[in-house]
């Protein structure tokens, strides 16, 4: 082996080591804040006001579910968790169903101005939700659904649809024509074709869209902050009112934030692939 290649091998060994050290440090930077939240939520509140969460490493006996117990006994919080579910599930299902119908129509039906309509929808992809807050608040106030679950759900559906239609239309357009024609020859009607052929074939795109929309709505605070009231507020809104007195209520904030993260994290780890493709396709939002 020549001297030179030994030298370059040494260099690559050293640089490989540096890369590893760098990535470990970065990984710690990314992990520590979340671990801090978790451990904070597992310490007794009176300890939280005097010392940092890292104390549990020297005093593991501090770990307790006390804060969780107390939090889950608080009906405001449990109600708000229920509201999060009641908002997120319909908003996701409606976007998937309505988006699929329209996506299919844009992909495979013939009607005047079809492509222009579709481009119009694509144009709406980047419209910031901020534009709609004031007008929709007035509109909902006039028709009496301001502060209700229905209002928030509708808002999320409206702003979820451009992406849904866009994603699904592109995916449905790839379905081989022969499949649709064969089903048609077998005498399938429009609805049957849609539910039996198009929806199943669109599975991957629908999954990606569903997961994306689910997390989007679950994690939303701004829309709910404006369109819900004390009875319909989701967990994000319930917690933000606590943030205003940050300091002596870590025992509510830390476990509350962690509970609000559990479902998204489970979804994230269970459906990584779909989530990634949803995020990649959703780069527009």
């Amino acid at each position: 082996m020549s001297k030179e290649s030994l030298g370059s091998r040494l260099a690559s060994f050293v640089s490989g080591g540096l890369v590893r050290v760098f990535l470990v440090v970065v990984g710690l930077f990314w992990l520590v804040p979340t671990i801090g939240l978790l451990l904070s939520s597992l310490r007794p509140p009176e300890e939280m006001t005097v010392s940092g969460w890292w104390e549990v490493f020297s005093k593991p006996s501090q770990l307790t579910f006390e804060s969780y117990d107390k939090l889950l006994g608080n009906s405001d919080i449990t109600d708000s968790i229920l509201n999060t579910v009641l908002i997120t599930v319909p908003a996701t299902v409606l976007v998937v169903v309505i988006g699929s119908l329209a996506g299919y129509a844009f992909a495979w039906m013939e009607f005047p101005g079809r492509d222009w309509w579709f481009l119009g929808v694509v144009g709406l992809l980047v419209v910031p939700v901020q534009v709609a807050l004031i007008p929709i608040a007035e509109l909902f106030g006039n028709i009496g659904i301001f502060g209700s679950l229905i209002g928030v759900i509708l808002f999320h559906v409206g702003f979820g649809l451009p992406f849904a239609v866009f994603l699904l239309r592109n995916f449905f357009a790839e379905i081989p024509r022969e499949l649709l024609e064969a089903a048609r020859l077998d005498g399938a009607g429009e609805l049957r074709l849609f539910f039996r052929v198009v929806m199943p074939l669109g599975g991957p795109a629908i999954a990606a869209l569903g997961i994306f929309q689910f997390l989007w709505v679950w994690n939303d605070m701004l829309v709910a902050l404006i369109f819900t009231d004390a009875d319909s507020q989701p967990i994000t809104v319930a917690l933000q009112t606590q943030v205003r007195q940050f300091g002596n209520n870590i025992d509510i904030l830390a476990p509350g934030a962690f509970i609000s993260m559990v479902i998204p994290l489970v979804v994230f780890f269970a459906f990584q692939r779909q989530f990634v493709s949803g995020v990649m396709a959703g780069a527009v939002k």
Binding site: L31, V32, D115, G123, P128, V131, F159, P204, L222
Partner: protein, 448 residues
Amino acid sequence: MASTQAAGGGAPPAAPKSRRSVTGTRRAVAALFLLPALVLLGALVVYPIGYSVIRSFYDQSGDGFAGFDNYQALFTDDGIRTALKNNVIWVVFAPTVATALGLIFAVLTERVRWGTAFKLVVFMPMAISMLAAGIIFRLVYDQDPDKGVANAVWVGVHDTFAQSSAFPKAHPGRESPLEAAPGGGFITKATVSAGTPVTLPLVGVAPDQMPDDAKRAVQAKADPDGITGTTWQDFTRGKGVGTLGGVDASELGYAGLRIEAVKDGKVVASTNAADDGTFTLPAAAEGAQLRLPPDNFKEPYNGVDWLGPSLVTPSIIVSYIWMWAGFAMVLIAAGLAGIPRDLLEAARVDGAGEWQVFRRVTVPLLAPVLAVVTVTLMINVLKVFDLVFIIAPGSSQDDANVLALELYRKGFSEDQPGIASAIAVFLLLLVIPVMWFNVRRLRREVRR
């Protein structure tokens, strides 16, 4: 933007040459399929755009036409100007730093076996809400170094290089042998001599502020060959319990306190007190005055005020990057996977070093992806709201203000819907180039 890829990645749909309806659909059926989507989009997205535009030209009550007054307020109102300035900082730094980090992570993770695990860790914050991320960073940035991890690390590093003092509020009590020294600290009124133990009693250190290694104070023994003495907290809780100027059972020594012997303004000897507060100085200190230099009594270094007026915006941007660098990394890694390996190999065979390969081959080939990621993040950053709303404490929220937050305040707590609408329209105008770009790109694909 990146969105021409349907789920699962892959090439944009190669639409059939003629996309005549396979189903021979009647128009009425098509209309039924489209109706729910179009009605909702019309009512919830299109109508508000029009309404906001019109509303932005009316005054706050909505009755009088105001012309461009609301838009003028965008540039004259102090609050909005701070918000604008901060938005510029956000748009310039957050997307570029996140994209640069994403690029670095994507390239480096290809070289380690646990790259996937690393990616998972960095990508994970994408799944959680900005509210949760905000609370997470509120904890991180806690001012108290005993509670906030950012300041704990910062103070730890700082104190490694600069000795911190242990007795910030200590001072002589009544009838003390000590007096304030010129230039700070305290000095004995009398000179000291060997064989006579010195007492240096102080008071004023809160019990929980005493050093952990401080032990019960001990009366120093006389030593004919040197100066001995004790320095301690001369205070026992309870009226008249302790002896003034004498060492009592429950009193702690000032472990580590610095003591200097001064003769004619010159330091002739110095030492630090032991854990029980005793100290010994060499015979050279005979006839000197003992001084406790001011370094002993400095306030301890308390770290950085991360969420104070001057640092609050950069601090929140860091939390944003924590959330979104993973997004950049994943998109760039996908782009990286699409680069033909032979191209990189060929460059290496030609003698290019790793850095050159990165600079001259990888980055140029990734340029389109990098542009998409940066622009996407810019749009996202324009609308940033939750993180600022949650992380900035009330006292510095004005300093951290951004347009989306100002819109919320004006529209929903200050009852100025005209100005809020103008901010909304302004935000919309900023994203119109991207809207136009999306539509133009898709038009080519759609019409075949």
